[in-house]
Amino acid sequence: MVRRYLAALVAIALACLVPAVAAALGKPDLITLGTQIAIYAIAAAGLDLLIGYTGLSSFGHAAFFGLGGYTVGIMAFHAAGEPMFGVIPGLTEAWLVWPLAIAVSAIAALAIGALSLRTIGVSFIMITLAFAEMFFFLFVSLKTYGGDDGLGFRRRNAIPGIAPRDDVAFYYVCLTALVLVLALLHRVVHSRFGRVLQGMRQNPRRMEAIGLATYRYKLTAFTIAGAVAGLAGALHANLLRFVSPDMLHWTMSGDFMIMVVLGGAGTLVGPVIGAAAMVLLQSWLAQWTEHWMIVMGPILVFVVLFARRGILGLFR
């Protein structure tokens, strides 16, 4: 127990050194990579609450990631121009926009979950995929917000005391968000609620037989995961100062799933490792070929076949 907290502290300390290392090596793009990893890790950790803990293979997680991103983008768009529908003003302050993004994603997850969770197994995977595709095509067709081309904005959301163009500061903001999300999820998976989730993964029939109404717990987990993805999406929009339907594409949902499985489902560290492995491999392999998935694919197959608990499982 104590060793685990120590390991977590060491990991956080190392992550804090990334900007210094990037400066020493003269490679500022390392900071962007680190920020990207932190953001994807947030979304993947939320998804792992479903895949790894509850046993729900949601294949539509990009929908909530994208909705969080678009909330930031659309609010920035209206802040710079006309109010939405002529009445709702845009927003640029992080402390207002980010909670709004989380809420939008949570509400969408509540609605999508309420319908999808009536099915199980392959039907559940397909229905979550279908809902995500629906949102994808919705934003492709919304010409006001750039449609296919996406929507750019000039400034990151304002955080008091932080310069909007300061990439190092934004890296620390994302790192802080990741640590907070992981701490929160750590409490959740060890709570009574978390016990119920893990029970449903191990033996759903048994859980019903001992009197659990499983649906509402699955729906709550689904909503939490959606809200977390919304935060990740809001951060991602801020990182790029740009949102596009790519955030909602089914390949994005697939990437999140790969991060969870690659790193180790059913742990909180796993998705972080998975996100790091995915982002680093992608940036490294992309230097050699644009078809980097040709290499990534076999690696994933190898991990799934030989390390059933993901990369993390290799070290246990």
């Binding site: 009574r192 016990r195 029970g199 033996n203 048994r206 019903e208 037989a209 001992i210 009197g211």
Partner: protein, 248 residues
Amino acid sequence: MSALLEVRGLMKRFGGLIATNNLDLDVTEGELHALIGPNGAGKSTAIGLISGELKPDAGTIRLARADITAAPIAARVRLGMTRSFQVTSILPEFTALENVALVEQIRAGHSFRFWREAARDRSLTDPARDTLARIGLAARAEVAARDLAHGEQRQLELAMALMTGAKLLLLDEPMAGLGATESQAMTEILAGLKRHTTILLVEHDMDAVFALADRITVLVYGQAIASGPPDAIRADPAVRAAYLGEEA
């Protein structure tokens, strides 16, 4: 003596097969009632209908006078009835203690508690330890359920059913797959339980059934052909012809 469980005219068809045919069954408070019958007689279907996993085509089921024919499983558990499974059904990754503590957690109310660590919650672990002790598993509390011996897993399953606080336990072949010594141990555990709880027992092990049961109902082709105390059942010519005769 009132009937805790009252089944009237229960019917269930699977396509052309009539699995439960106009079944009447009374389980009186405090008794251990055994449901026996040859393979395919519809014993597991009957348990499935009573526990709520299957929906009957016709008939009524009453638990403590309340009509539960259409009630969902969770509602039946709240009213005081729970089942065990023919195939061992536990949470393999959790320890024995965590398995039973989780049942206590669900019994204690909703689980929308997100902050406090469940493993350190004495209000869950203390009753769970008591129940494990009652069932003879206290020494194995910290072992992952998947690493328990088969007989111990069956005991754990029973402990979980017991922890629901059920007035009526539906036990579907608790001796299934157990060796002679393990069956003997399980018979003793059930003999201890029946003093506190009403039990409807489906079992193939006739030694155990005749040692434990206060009353026996014999099912053949989904129909109850006889019901009564063990001696009467043993002497019943219809039962001998349909069932016991097959074994002799």
